[in-house]
């Protein structure tokens, strides 16, 4: 199956739809009361590793904006943009992780996670707080701490969920494996 331009568009759409459903309806209680864990970044990381920066950027952007829309609390552009940046950086991992063609082994798991850690740090500790300060004039210590907590939670979530999803996706793609019947 070739990666046609139309396929990228559909990947953005299905990616954004999944991002929305996971972010809006999949509630995994976190240790902090009244907060849920964002499993959708595990999906975004997989999407990036499989389809590249362009698809993950737009899926992260559209998915986040749709969630904001559906809650009706306005669109927090700073976080929507950060989510897109996060997807973009995760997508850069595509060429080194090679999910479709290579085995998802220890080395690639490490590479994948390095990218996702950089992506989350950049998105939530740099982009989101700076935009919050510029756009909404919020206090810097509040936004940086918020960003830092979000980054940490997302990094842990992605490390577990994203890695499991990538392993399953990679296993589902036929490889040149020698399988022996027992």
């Amino acid at each position: 199956m070739k990666n046609t331009p139309v396929k990228s568009i559909v990947a953005i759409a299905i990616g954004a739809a999944l991002f929305f459903v996971l972010g809006r309806f999949v509630a995994i209680p976190s240790p902090v009361p009244n907060t849920n864990i964002s499993v959708q970044y595990g999906l975004l990381a997989l999407l990036g590793a499989a389809f590249g920066p362009f698809v993950a950027l737009l899926a992260g952007f559209i998915g986040y904006a749709l969630i904001d829309f559906s809650y009706g609390w306005g669109i927090w552009w700073s976080w929507v943009i950060a989510s897109a940046v996060c997807g973009f950086v995760m997508g850069i991992s595509k060429n080194s992780v090679k999910l479709a063609t290579e085995k998802f082994d220890r080395k690639r798991i490490v590479t994948f996670n390095v990218y996702q850690i950089i992506a989350h740090l950049l998105a939530w500790v740099v982009v989101a707080p700076i935009l919050d300060i510029v756009m909404y004039a919020e206090p810097w210590n509040k936004v940086f701490l918020q960003g830092f907590v979000a980054a940490l939670a997302n990094i842990v979530t992605t490390a577990i969920v994203g890695t499991i999803l990538c392993a399953a996706y990679s296993a589902a793609k036929p490889k040149k494996d020698s399988l022996e019947k027992k």
């Binding site: 070739k2 046609t4 296993a171």
Partner: protein, 569 residues
């Protein structure tokens, strides 16, 4: 006349495969013809479809050999877009083909992409929607439509382009029998009224032949095996050789020892003519074969008593349902979409709670049981195995239920071994699930349920969207499983499935249980058939033709005889 589609020594090889999937194809299809392409799974018919509409090689990498011309243009030189103006494809998966948010937008999709002006677009959409009888549903979203209506929208979506050729990929796969029949009638009407060339890919021969076709192309192993009229094909033994199901009345005639010949006009049951001697021969056969034995009745494992249920939105999904499932049965829950059969299963599994009535599991009231506890009594297998499998390795997948229940490792290993053995998967114990075929994955999901030793296993549309070979593989497996003592409950709208494999059918319609009887009896009752969107079997008509007074008994004896023949008893 020039052929509209012409294959000359044509072949196709996927880049990822060593051997070509198609080779030596010589085939001319002329404008205005109606052609049926049939063949067993893996024969290359889906690749042929992809070559025609351009998905191969535009979407699936590979290369042509020889020549394929479409409307005089060599296919190599035309884009997928140019081809879609000549050949319109109605895909099997009408949910995936339905990309618009509403019916109107979906029909308009191709026009939008061609940048047609809005006023003209609206007019054409309305015209085409009326042509396929969905004109009153233009503002509906896909989930507000039935399977048959979605397919009509897909058809409208390609007709709107005024294509020359309509290509239907397994149009009957997801439809109930009555809807399937009207789909075939609609295709026939469009073919005649709109002067289209029609190509249908389907293995349900009898159902397609409900309306005539000019030619049947039979494929096997990447080549064309036969290209003949339906009558010629039915008189040959090619269908049996390739493992495609003959029309039931043809099989019955053969059991009676008759040779099927063209002068019988065997293509339709309505045109079938038999001499008095031949009719007598069928009657003789009927008197000769034994009446099937009624299966003994075991203990009740599942008892549904006066259950009623309404959804939050007020929709009354079930009214006063009572039945019981006994040990060792193979029962079908039948009825069209929305009849209440899936809701019934949700109640049994505890996914929803009934407002009235009781459900007993092995004599125990289930009202206080959790979903997990019910899961130990009733195992539920979803339609699509890909929706159930969450582990990479087969062993982990099959043992998941037990390890979640904290069982010791030895017990899990033993149960996994047993379940894999029953499902003939033992050789694959260390494989990842992804290396298996669709049918094998289905068996993995069944094994993962069996490892919990439920009293009853319940399968949702186990054969939906499957070709005949996979269908037979899955059903024979379930039959074996049932004979080894597992009680099986199937949810299905497939008539053949219940007729050929089940002892008993529970027929649902509009939330009521209309019938609880042997499938042969159900399918011989005209009122019931109409109410439940089923279809009369051709055996019923054959019995009438031959002057047999009890068509129900005729059907029952035929099925029994056919089962024995299949098992080689």
């Amino acid at each position: 006349m020039e052929p509209i589609i012409s294959f000359k020594n044509f072949g196709f090889k996927y880049t990822v495969q060593k051997e070509p999937t198609l080779y030596g194809i010589d085939l001319d299809i002329y404008p205005g013809q109606k052609v049926l392409i049939a063949g067993p799974s893996g024969c290359g018919k889906s690749t042929l479809v992809s070559c025609l509409n351009g998905l191969a090689p535009f979407s699936y990498d590979g290369e042509y050999t020889g020549s394929l011309t479409i409307k005089g243009v060599e296919a190599r030189d035309s884009s997928i877009f140019a081809r879609s103006k000549v050949i319109g494809t109605v895909l099997q998966d009408s949910d995936a083909q339905f990309v618009g948010l509403t019916v109107a937008e979906d029909i308009a999709f191709a026009l939008e992409n061609d940048a047609v002006a809005v006023d003209e677009m609206k007019k054409r959409v309305q015209d085409v929607a009326d042509l396929v009888d969905v004109g009153g549903h233009l503002a509906h979203a896909p989930h507000e439509l039935s399977g048959g209506q979605k397919q009509r929208v897909s058809l409208a979506g390609v007709l709107v382009d005024d294509v020359d050729v309509l290509l239907f990929d397994e149009p009957l796969a997801n439809l109930d029998p009555a809807t399937g029949e009207s789909a075939i009638e609609l295709i026939d009407r469009i073919w005649k009224d709109e002067n289209k060339t029609v190509i249908i890919i389907e293995h349900r021969l009898e159902d397609v032949l409900h309306r005539g076709v000019d030619r049947v192309i039979l494929m096997d192993d990447g080549r064309i095996l036969a290209d003949m009229t339906p009558e010629q094909l039915l008189c040959s033994d090619l269908l049996r050789k390739t493992g495609i199901r003959e029309p039931l009345y043809i099989t019955a005639l053969k059991y009676a020892g008759l040779a099927v010949t063209p002068d019988m006009h065997p293509a339709h049951i309505e045109t079938l003519t038999l001499s008095e001697a031949q009719k007598a021969q069928v009657r003789d056969w009927f008197d000769r074969v034994e009446s099937p034995q009624k299966p003994g009745r075991g203990d009740a494992l599942l008892d549904v008593q006066n259950v009623s249920f309404a959804y939050n939105n007020g929709h009354q999904a079930l009214r006063d349902i009572s039945f019981s499932i006994r040990k060792g049965e193979l029962t079908a829950i039948a009825g069209r979409n929305g009849a209440g059969k899936s809701t019934m299963c949700k109640l049994v599994c505890g996914f929803e709670k009934q407002q009235q009535g009781t459900i007993l599991l092995k004599g125990e009231d289930s009202a206080e049981m959790s979903i997990k506890e019910r899961g130990e009594h009733v195992g539920y297998v979803m339609q699509n195995p890909n929706q159930m499998i969450s582990k990479v390795f087969i062993k982990d997948e099959v043992g998941l239920g037990l390890s979640l229940r904290g069982k010791p490792q030895e017990e899990i290993d033993a149960a996994v071994d047993d379940a894999l053995k029953i499902c003939s998967l033992s050789p694959f114990v260390d494989w990842p699930v992804s290396a298996l075929s669709y049918g094998q994955k289905k068996r993995v999901t069944i094994a993962s349920i069996l490892s919990l030793h439920p009293d009853v296993i319940m399968l949702d549309e186990p054969t939906a969207g499957q070709d005949f070979r996979r269908y037979t593989e899955i059903m024979e497996f379930l039959e074996d499983l049932n004979r080894s003592g597992v009680t099986v409950l199937l949810i299905t709208h497939d008539m053949h499935l219940m007729l050929e494999y089940c002892d008993r059918a529970l027929v649902f319609s509009d939330g009521k249980l209309l019938a609880d009887d042997a499938p042969a009896a159900v399918l011989s009752d005209p009122d019931l058939i109409r109410a439940a969107s089923l279809k009369k079997t051709s055996l019923y008509d054959l019995a009438g033709l031959c002057g047999i007074a009890d068509p129900k008994e005729f059907t029952a004896r035929f099925i029994d005889c056919d089962r024995k023949a299949r098992r080689g008893v």
